[in-house]
Every structure is written in structure tokens, then in C-alpha cells.
Symmetry: C2
Subunit: 478 residues, 2 copies
């Protein structure tokens, strides 16, 4: 079932109006990580609720309590829950988005005021344009196109918009857990759609079915009672830095292989079918060179590089706390140093499974050093990886929508990073979760001059609407 | 020839007066590293000149020009050169000291005002009490004891007191070079005596005959055009931190052995005679544990630990610049990191000799990594080691003075750190240089609550005077 032609025509005709609504949204400085912007972040929630109400959605604001920020205890921005349609013959799709944004100052290097949506050629510049106000406005566009023309939506919709995503999604997991209960907002949801990531490149739409998890560790080595002078103590004592650097050097090899025994073995090798996925992806070594700013890919095989990011675990050394880290030449023997590193995890790895392997390995390597220093391994935080079933009708619907609107087959991608709410929805609701990105790889979500291409906004709106029709068609109930 | 009894008696009788002069000196905030104290540092030079003049020394102030400090171009504190005695039948002893001090604030953790000399029990607390105003005052005490009693000094004296030692001895090397010429202050000097270091412990006087040199390096590894996110790029690219940590881990082993080929081999093993020196030293593992604040000595053999500091080279890893070094958990792949390390050198090692070994080794280790990152090794600064001849009459005179006054045989020590002026005097004057410490190991020269024991000040004054008599006797010309 293809989307109603009146829907698609309305989107084209009202592009300027849609852009204006996005501009109104960008104007509101909903920086969740800035205490001084907390009221505006809450205002943004109210603005969004009003928009939804005007489009016929039944909404409630869920108070998430208070949270300390920059030394103040402030009210959290509310979560907005919405309901539209109760037809038991239709599928129910839950839409997630976040209305808060990353900090931005013109002086960070923006060409224009980050909180004024500026149109240049075919692009819209402004904080939140692509992350994540653009996608939320996309859904509002879909609703407006139907409501104003009296068109019936092919599915029931549920909405979950939060205002703390950029600051740890405070309170959201508990809320989702509660709303799954009988009579609550998320009861009866058949699938979830999240638009909060990006295409793999600037050319080809993507569907994302996996996210890596993470396990972040600190190795703490201490010995002397205070920092020592290397002239007086060099070669008299066990130096914590010597031990720490030795341990850190044993974690990952120069090809990116994780040296902690048991970690690599947990991950099954790709079969032919999976390998083909990476071969088919619209991606080249030039793309990684451009994104990284240098030709430093670990392999000359595009498939190996893509699998390195998407389906293999990784281990990165982030730095050392407590050692000399300034410019200049200090002749210090630091007394207490902490090495920071993290693993990105893929199924079936979980923090619970890797913590004992990592801790045990580092302890056994430290024992070999016969050092009189003290060493502890600390697990600092983490999260599980997530992989979805791409053969589910939820993904198939999105694929068809993309093929219809973009005339291209999407890349099936997995992200190297994490979007924790994805896992929460998958686990708490027990339904298929789809990541359906609206923006491109070069949108600069968290950096200066964040942008959204107008085509991504407008065609993206059509994809979202068409996806709903395909869900309805594929799930065979409408 | 033992010291004149009237000299020794005068010192005992005038202890309080001497302490008062030290208090006057401590009061003047001659912090050479603080632009706001530059005038007071210069004032300190004038105060000292006046003291010397009053004691019959012919002095000149040598203008050392200007130097930038904390963004200002300021006059350097003057060097004070002094001359007392021209008897061709006497030996000529050159005395060095510095009248500037380290910074100090009560709020750093001092129990009392650092610039008020406070007497508690048998100790004198105050900035500069031991480093290096106490020893300079010791020489003034010797002069006063002779002049006020009409006693003839057994040697000719030359003085070189500077006000920039704690800030790199700006301009001093050039001055020394000039003053060696015919008709200048240091012409005809027979030996040098420097009191600017400390006993090995709190019990036994020491004579110091060696200092280690240093060669300080940076390893710079860069790759990505900007910092990357480990979720997006982990296992896609060569990470500079992975390479750097590998290289740093190859420099020194957990027993303190330097792994750069050729470095250890340069240093001859100690013979039996030298080994005995370390066995005889009044030092125990408890001393190193107390100084380091923990039982982390590299060996249970006192000799090995002492040789590690005094006669063997060492390599310390100081830290990494450019990586994540804050508290918390940042998931960054740093784009550009610099590892800092230094070697302490002993004869016959020099920076010139070790630079190619270190650089070549790191380059060959980096080549093994097959990394697409860029790596350079930079030699940042350094200085040669110094070892003196302990059988010279200069040392023998000091030994006899110590035995006479302290009734103890001194420890013959080598310092792990460097006092660059020592090497300059040795090389430019071509005479024996003696380090004759006045203070104890626990004086806290550069830390809070710096102190000098009254006995070290008063008996130390006697040692300085007696040393002059012994020089005269031993060198067989008076
Ligand atoms: Zn986002
Ligand atoms: Zn974001
Ligand atoms: Zn000093
Ligand atoms: Zn000093």
C-alpha cells in the first residue's frame, strides 16, 4: 500500500511552512546540559506539546523529577507522551525523539547564529536541525499533511519525546518501564521507530539495525606517597607510570585486535550473507579518510573497515589521569595514575561478560611485573549492544518507503556507538525497534555548523509517512 | 692544620646573632620565578652585597641583562662577585651560592609564615633557610668570626652568588666563562666549593662528588585530523594512543632497566672499591621508604637502590600530553599525543651520545607497528653528568673538616639530579669542584615547611671555616 498521493503532494507544497516550523523550534535554546537554559528546555517541551495537541494528538507531560546540574537542583524537562488512534485493526507504531540539543556558541566556530535556522543553498543550518528537532518536525509534518486534508492515518501512533537525551536521558528508562503496563501509553505498541542517527555517507539512505555496547574501565596504579622527583628517585623505586604503560600496552595490538583473552572469541565470524552486506554498502576508504581527516584506516579492505566499526568489538585507550599532561618538561614521577580505556561491545558480549575477563587479565599481567605498587581495575560504566532483526516487517516497511521516495535501496548499517534508549525499548516493550535516520553522515550533529539538507527534511518527511503506509500494508491488518 | 680555636669559639658564642642574620635574609622575598617579587629579589642582591662589603670583601654586581617572565621583560637580579685576599702563597677557593628562593605561600600548607624565620625546638623554619640562604649565611658567619677578631683567613676567597638559580641560572654560564679570563674574578681559582644540596639522611654529613645528567624527550604521534569518537571510529583507524603506549612500554622494564639498546652498556660496572662505598653509606631501605612515602624500592639490596640513584642511568615516563587526562569517562580517540620521558645520565653518557640511540630505537620500534600514523622523536633538553675526583685535596680537606666538627666520617654521595652550575665551573675553570652540603635529607628544600636544623647551621658554619684551614694545610702552601 503506497502512501496517499495527497499526502506526498501536501509535503511538497508546504515545504516552506515546514521549514518555518523547524526554524521556530531551533530558536528555542533547549540545551539540556546548561543550567541557564533549563527553563527554555522546559519551554521547548510545552511548545512541542502545543504543536501535537493542535494536530489532534492526545498528550500528557510526565514529570521526571529533579536532577543536580552545575551545582543546582533543577526540575527536569518533562517527557511528552502522545496517543493518536485507537483502532484495534491497525498496527500501533511508537515514535521516539528528543527535543533537547547540544550546547552551541557562535564563538565555537559557527558561521551563523546557531539558534537561528539559516538556509544556505539546499541546506538548513542551526543547532538541532538534524539532531533531533528536524526528525521530530518530520513527524509533525506527516500529521499536519493528514489532518489538514482529512486523510486517515494507516496506523495508530504513540509518541515519546524527551528533553534530556543529550544529558543522559535522566528518568527515561523508569518512565518507559511504567508506561508498558496495562492502560498506559506504550501498552499494545507493535513496533518502534527512532530517527536519531545518520546515513553512512552523504548519498544513500540507511536503515540501522545494530549498536555497539560499551564497557569503560580505569586502571589505577599508585605507589609513592607523593609525586617524586625523577632525579632523586629514578631507578630507586617502582614507578606507577612504568607499570601502567606496560599494562595499557597489553590491551590492544597495532592492528586493532583486542589482546584480552576470550574477548574476540565471543563474537562469531561473519557468514557469506553478512559479508555481502558490507560489500554492498555504499562506502569507500575515501569516506573513512574524509571523516577521520587522514588516510589512517586499519585496512585497505572496505569490508574489514566497516566490520571494524559495525560488527566487531574495539578497544580504545583514551588517556591517563594523574600523570604530567601539560606542555613543557616536568621531571616528575607521578605517584598515582589512572589509565582510561573502553571496549565497544557487540552481541553476544555484555559488560557483565567482559568485566571478569578484562579484570582478570590485567591482574595477571600486573602480577608478572612483580611491582610493589598497588593496582586496581575499575569498571566505570557501560551498556549492552543491540542488534535488531532486519527481516521483520518493521524494517521491510522502511526499506520499501525509502525505495519509493529515494529510488534507492538503503544501506543496512550498524552504528559503532550507542543510543541507550533503543535497547530500553527493545527490552521493555519486546517489539522490533527500527532506526530510521533522516540526516546525512556530514550533518555535524554535535559540532559547529550543524545542518540538515532540505531534501533530507522534505523527502525524509515523505519517507516517514510512507513508512506508516507500508507498515500497515505489510503487517496485513489494514 | 686545624681551625683557629677563636674562630670556633666565636661561632658558638654568636649563634643567636647568626640566626638573626638568617632571619633578615629569609624576610626578603627573593622568589626569582615570580615577576611580582623581582624587585625584592634584586633588593636581596643589594642586601647581600652590603653584608659582604661590611665584612671586607671587594664586590661588584654583574648586570645579567633582561629576561621575559610571566609576559613581562624584566631586569635579571645581579650576580654578586667578591674577592677577599690576594696572597700568592695561599690557595684561592671559589664559593658559590644562590640568594633566590622557590615560591612559597602560607596557603600551600605551611604551618607558619614562610618568610618569617621561626624557631621551633632545634629547627629554623622558613623559605630559603636551607636552600640556599642558610649556606650563604654560613660563609658570612665565617668571615665575621675572622674579621671581628682580627684573624687572618688561611686562603684567598672568591665569591659567586647568583639570584636566578631557581629559574634556570639565566646568564650565569656566560658570566663564568668571561670571569675566567686574565685579570677577572675567577682567574687563579684553585678549587670550588658549593653548598646547595643535602645529606643522604638526617644523621650523617655527606660530601657529594657526582651528579647525573639528563636527556628529556617527547614522542609525538598524530593521525586523525581531529579528535574522534571511539564509538564511530574504534577499530576503523590507527589510533595514536595505541601506538604511543606501545612505544613508551618499550623504553624501560619493570625493574628499571633501560631497554634502549646501547644505553646500559655504556656504563662500566662498579668495581669492588666502588661497591664498598655504597655498603658503607649510612642508608637503609627504611630511608627510601620514608622519603618515597611507601615501601616501593626496586630492590631489597641497599647497594642496588643507592647505585640506581647515584651511578646508574634511569628512565622515567612522565606523562602524555594531548590525551584525555581529566576525571570522568570521555570516549575520545585523541588525534595527537605526545609522550614525555627522560633519561638520567651518568658518565660517560652525554645527551649527544644517547640522542641517536634513543631516536633510532623508537623509530625502529615504530616501523614494526606498520602504523599509518606519523611519529617523531624530539629531544627537548638535557645536560651532561658530572663526577669529581674524591681523592683530590679539595675533598680530603672537607672530609677532615667534617671529621673534626661532626666526629663522623662523611658519606660520599652522588646525587640523582643535576646542579648545572657544577659542571660549568668544572669545565670552564678546570679545577676540582666540591659539593659540601649543609642541610639534611628532610629539609624540604622545595616544599612546605622548609627548615634547617640549628646544629646544621652552626656546626655547618664551623665545617665551612675548618674546611678552609684544611685546604690550606693539605695543599701545602700555607
Ligand atoms: Zn540525538
Ligand atoms: Zn545528539
Ligand atoms: Zn638551591
Ligand atoms: Zn632550590
Amino acid at each position: 500500500m503506497s502512501a496517499h498521493q495527497d499526502f506526498l503532494a501536501y509535503v511538497d507544497k508546504n515545504a516552506d511552512k515546514f521549514i518555518q516550523r523547524l526554524a521556530d523550534a531551533v530558536k528555542i535554546k533547549s540545551i539540556s546540559g546548561d543550567a541557564g537554559c533549563r527553563q527554555e528546555t522546559i519551554d521547548m517541551g510545552h511548545w512541542l506539546q502545543k504543536q501535537l495537541d493542535a494536530l489532534g494528538v492526545t498528550t500528557v507531560l510526565r514529570d521526571l523529577g529533579q536532577c543536580p546540574i552545575q551545582g543546582q537542583l533543577l526540575d527536569l524537562p518533562p517527557a511528552i507522551l502522545g496517543r493518536l488512534g485507537e483502532d484495534p485493526k491497525k498496527k500501533t507504531v511508537l515514535i521516539y525523539g528528543h527535543y533537547d540539543v547540544q550546547p552551541a556558541l557562535k564563538s565555537d566556530g559557527w558561521d551563523t547564529d546557531p539558534f537561528e535556522l539559516v538556509r544556505k543553498d539546499d541546506q538548513l543550518f542551526g543547532r538541532g536541525s538534524t539532531d533531533d528537532k528536524g526528525p521530530i518536525m518530520g513527524w509533525l509534518n506527516v500529521l499536519e499533511a493528514h489532518r489538514s486534508q482529512g486523510l486517515e492515518l494507516p496506523v495508530n501512533l504513540r509518541f515519546c519525546f524527551e528533553g534530556m537525551e543529550e544529558s543522559g536521558s535522566e528518568g527515561l528508562d523508569e518512565l518507559i518501564e511504567k508506561e508498558v503496563a496495562e492502560g498506559e501509553f506504550f501498552k499494545g505498541v507493535d513496533c518502534v521507530c527512532i530517527s536519531d542517527n545518520y546515513w553512512l555517507n552523504t548519498r544513500t539512505p540507511a536503515l540501522t539495525y545494530g549498536l555497539r555496547g560499551i564497557a569503560y574501565f580505569g586502571i589505577h596504579v599508585s605507589g609513592p606517597g607523593q609525586d617524586l622527583h625523577s632525579g632523586l628517585f629514578g631507578r630507586m623505586v617502582h614507578e606507577p607510570m612504568t607499570d601502567l604503560v606496560k599494562l595499557m600496552s597489553k590491551l590492544v595490538d597495532h592492528n586493532g585486535n583486542i589482546l584480552v583473552p576470550g574477548i574476540e572469541d565471543m563474537v562469531p565470524l561473519p557468514d557469506e550473507h553478512e559479508l555481502k552486506l558490507y560489500t554492498k554498502m555504499d562506502y569507500s576508504l575515501a569516506d573513512v579518510a574524509e571523516a577521520a581527516g587522514a588516510s589512517i584506516a586499519l585496512s585497505d579492505q572496505k569490508e574489514t573497515v566497516l566490520m571494524g566499526r559495525m560488527r566487531n568489538p574495539s578497544l580504545s585507550l583514551h588517556g591517563i589521569q594523574g600523570a604530567f599532561s601539560e606542555p613543557g618538561c616536568k621531571t616528575v614521577i607521578p605517584s598515582k595514575v589512572s589509565g582510561k580505556f573502553s571496549l565497544r561491545l557487540v552481541p553476544p558480549q555484555t559488560p557483565e561478560l567482559v568485566i571478569p575477563l578484562v579484570t582478570g587479565y590485567i591482574q595477571s599481567e600486573f602480577a608478572k611485573l612483580n611491582s610493589k605498587n598497588k593496582m586496581t581495575v575499575e569498571y566505570l560504566h557501560g551498556g549492552k549492544p543491540w542488534v535488531s532483526d532486519v527481516n521483520h516487517w518493521n524494517f521491510e516497511a522502511a526499506k520499501r518507503a525509502i525505495e519509493t521516495i529515494w529510488k534507492k535501496t538503503p544501506d543496512y548499517t550498524r552504528e559503532g556507538g550507542s543510543i541507550p534508549v533503543t535497547l530500553t525499548f527493545a527490552e521493555k516493550l519486546g517489539v522490533n525497534v527500527l532506526l530510521l535516520p533522516m540526516g546525512r553522515a556530514d550533518d555535524g550533529a554535535h559540532s559547529t555548523n550543524e545542518k540538515l539538507d532540505i531534501s533530507n527534511f522534505i523527502e525524509g518527511t515523505k519517507v516517514l509517512g510512507t513508512y506508516l503506509y507500508e507498515v500497515s500494508a505489510l503487517s496485513g491488518v489494514a
